[in-house]
Amino acid sequence: MLRHVHIFVQLKDGVLDIQGKAVANSLVSLGHGSLGSAKVGKYIQLWIDADSPADARKEAEKMCDDLLVNPIIEQYRIEVEGE
């Protein structure tokens, strides 16, 4: 069956997050003085044909390694529905 997989990709700590900085500056200038900082990442959804949620996770990890994530600058977290 098709398993719904959610992948959250974030820049690693120490990598310059220009977008996060720009978004934070913009929010502060709109009056949101409570903001400490902001980070901008990516949210990817996949629907993978797999027998179990664990199999879907394994396949999603391979897809992250093959294309979806650049390990030099990015880290990721996977959530599989039904797991």
Binding site: L16, I18, Q19, A22, L67, L68, N70, I72, I73
Partner: protein, 239 residues
């Protein structure tokens, strides 16, 4: 000398680079569609041109780096064949792990298209042999993701081996943040691999090949490659 220019869906500097190499050297230049799994026989130099391959989706150069043609490109480079990536081509080389680092969005978060001054820091590469060390040249840039980033320890390695070939400078050769258009670490505009046969740079030498376009410094780039191949007779790969 035989040159192959790879065209990906979304490449848009392929014609410029074909024109510039042909016009400067009068040599044979073939284009290769990204679905091809082989390069033309006896190719000396492979060029990955600028553009927006696959719409720059996901990360610039990420999907082009996984195109069918890249197997043959890697084989060519593995044999020591010359490989050059310009702009999006540079992004494709880092995404392929053929060169270290990554190209992030410009510090301004805007697309920048304008002339730039570069200092030639390493003239011991097949691509820069006819330049003087420290020579200031003018190649234009046109990119949104040109901030070269490398983790600190790897950056030290790159610098220690002379891997930074081009840096952004003032017209007089001074360095400073105001001359670094995109925020690249150490003002780096172009790098070479340890073996010396793979070079990537964000500025466009092919757009600096005619006085009417604002300068001819780019011609020296192509002549350097031709001279390297002629001198050493090291065709189809470094020995």
């Amino acid at each position: 000398m035989k040159t192959a220019v790879v065209i990906f869906p979304g490449s848009n500097c392929d014609r410029d680079v074909i024109h510039s190499v042909r016009d400067t050297l009068g040599c044979e230049v073939e284009s290769v569609w990204h679905r091809e799994e082989r390069l033309p026989e006896e190719t000396d130099l492979v060029i990955l041109p600028g553009g927006f391959s696959y719409g720059d989706y996901l990360r610039s150069g990420a999907m082009a780096a996984r195109s069918p043609v890249m197997g043959a490109v890697k084989e060519h480079a593995g044999r020591g064949g010359l490989l050059l990536g310009i702009c999006n081509g540079f992004q494709i080389l880092t995404e392929s792990r053929l060169l270290p680092g990554v190209l992030l969005p410009n510090k301004t978060l805007s697309f920048i298209c304008r002339p730039c001054f570069l200092s030639v820091e390493n003239t011991e590469t097949p691509f820069t042999g006819l330049f003087r060390k420290g020579q200031v040249v003018q190649f234009p840039i046109a990119h949104g993701d040109g901030l070269f980033f490398l983790p600190a320890d790897e950056l030290d390695d790159l610098e220690n081996r002379g891997g930074a070939v081009f840096r952004y400078v003032s017209p007089r050769g001074d360095s400073g943040d105001e001359w670094n258009p995109n925020g690249s670490v150490n003002n780096i505009a172009g790098i070479v691999n340890p073996r010396g046969n793979i070079l990537g740079l964000m500025p466009h030498p092919e757009r600096a090949g005619e006085a009417i376009l604002g300068g001819e410094d780019g011609r020296l780039f192509w002549r350097s490659v031709a001279s390297f191949l002629e001198k050493g007779g090291r065709r189809h790969g470094l020995q």
